[in-house]
Amino acid sequence: MTLEALRLAAADNLWGAIMPELMLGCIALLLLGLEIVLPRRLHGVIPDVAAAGLLGTLLGLALNWSSVAVGRETFNGLLFHGTSGQLMRVFFVLSALFVCLLARVTLPRHTAPRVEFHHILLVVTAAMMLLAQSNHFVMLFVALEAATIGLYLLVGYFRGSTASLEAGLKFVVMGALSSGLLLFGIVLLYGVAGNPALPGHTTQALHFAELSRFLAANPDNFVASLGVVLVLAGVAFKIGAFPFQIWVPDVYQGAPTPVTAFLAVASKGAGFAVLMALCGQGGAFAAYGWLTTPVLTAIAAATLLFGNIAALTQHNVKRLIGLSGVSHAGFLLLGVIASAQTPMAAGAVYFYLFAYLAASFAVFGVMAHVAGQDDSEQELDHYHGLAKENPLLGAVLAIGLGSLAGIPPLAGFMGKLFILVSAFQAGARALLAVAALGVVISIYYYFGWIKAAFFETWTPPSGEGAGPARPERSPVTPVAAFVLGALALASIAIGFYPGPLGELLTLR
């Protein structure tokens, strides 16, 4: 190997193209450095440094929206920087920023270390940002594992709580199984696409475009279709789609509330970014639409029904929001299916994700304030009288839940509408009916929650052993009030005036 050859190979490593991810990585290291350097009494500012770093990254992203790298491959084809990648970067940074805010409310109630929490959070965010832009299965798997291993740690983070440890263990076992399925699928695809006896074989079988070319040349290969199905199963685990949703309720309940929010929003968004890259228009599996469309349709229908029906009977709000998140995954799958045929559907999926982000973090923000010392036991009863005692939290909760339920004119309604319209254009009529049924069911349990907060009054349990008292609510700081209010306003504003987000729908 001459020096010249090395230089040529390294020329494509355009580090400037992943500046936001590099920034987050450096800030994560900075946090650890600060913990060593700063005296103990100043350690309280370190989480603020993390939040400031995230804000700076967001600002940098906004200023460099159409940078040189957009629309091209870098790192020898490992990454592709498209508009959707830019959107998902913003999505993950926003999620991490809101998780920082929730952590300010939740973490001080426990003895868990805070600096390491933010360090892991930043690294996971950067890994997800790379995941959403990966254009190669090696990059995809490495970024996915970095994100998932960070999430294992965060789920089991409250070491003193049995529920958190149980959730962590279950998440590790299920996550290892799903990684195994995904890896097995990737290996099968690599093996069959590198077979010299098949037409269109390639030595770069892990590159999405090369793989897509191979699959188009062999539209009916059994081993390749097995690989495609296994990869889809691995991703379905990550987004919590039926029948791979069994880990969702326990893990969501046991994880610390900020981590539950991160799992529900960012982790699901990452899974859908991968699905769009694989199954969307011009994706790696585009030639296997005859296989992916029926498989995803069956998964989506079962996910929509299961998530909504299972959420009906829940009294623990974390389990409720977890199972309702399963049904949202079903809705998003509907958009992914439609995106193979309708260009508008891809925009609809991203719009839905952003509407889901605003509504979910509004609800999780209220949950973090209402939760007591025991983070896993958050019952619907604890919400009794919330609107009267704290009108701000009550209003934010109502708007967030209304948006999740899809009540016009909130953002969630517009998201659902766009997905349904694109599914109609793509001709998925039967699935449309299932989705509409799911929406009707979901209104029941979302409104049960609103009813608990608005129309029930809290009566303390009387007598000996009459059940535990309601946990102490956290005071709402001005920053938290501002952010929660902004999230609620965003849900309303996006609904009335989709604005720049609405332009997504015309994107390719």
Partner: protein, 172 residues
């Protein structure tokens, strides 16, 4: 049947039988040793594919380091073979369905998963040490860096999670 075919069959048999031993053994130490045997079988298969580097790495890293670590931990925890609770018996229907699914999957793979006869498979680029290392430093530089961060958070996470729960509180 040539020598290569005989070796392949022998190593494949060793891999599958000892992998079954990992799952079926009730004694954790024996299960770990079965895993070791299974890894030896897999590395034999890699040798048959001319992938000497992978075979060597598998023996060195997994069989040498990881399984040895497993054994240390098992000894440390002093887990006895009889301490594992007996699994609940599955209903007959579930057993029949599961067996049917597995057999159906294997059968369909045997029938339809045949690769076309023809030229022998080529050796992958990373099968030898020099091109492998070259690729790590050029094409796959970014994933290697990401893996560095992965190991960092794994290490930090282990430290956080293994600290005593009632230990000194972090500055709040």
């Amino acid at each position: 049947m040539g020598t290569g075919q005989i070796l392949f069959n022998a190593f494949a048999l060793l891999t599958v039988v000892s992998a079954a031993g990992v799952v079926l053994n009730r004694n954790a130490v024996n299960a770990a040793l079965c895993l070791l045997l299974s890894l030896v079988g897999v590395s034999g298969l890699f040798v048959a594919l001319d992938a000497y580097l992978l075979a060597f790495l598998l023996l060195l890293v997994y069989a040498g380091a990881v399984v040895a670590l497993f054994l240390f931990i098992i000894m440390l925890l002093d887990a006895r073979g009889d301490s594992r609770p007996v699994l609940h018996r599955l209903p007959l229907a579930a057993r029949v369905i599961a067996t049917g699914l597995v057999l159906g999957g294997v059968a369909s793979f045997l029938v339809r998963g045949r690769l076309p006869e023809g030229r022998a498979a080529t050796t992958a680029v990373g099968a030898a040490l020099k091109p492998y290392a070259h690729q790590l430093f050029t094409t796959y530089l970014l994933p290697v860096q990401v893996l560095g961060f992965l190991l960092l958070i794994a290490m930090i996470g282990v430290i956080v999670l293994s600290r005593r729960p009632d230990g000194p509180e972090d500055a709040a």
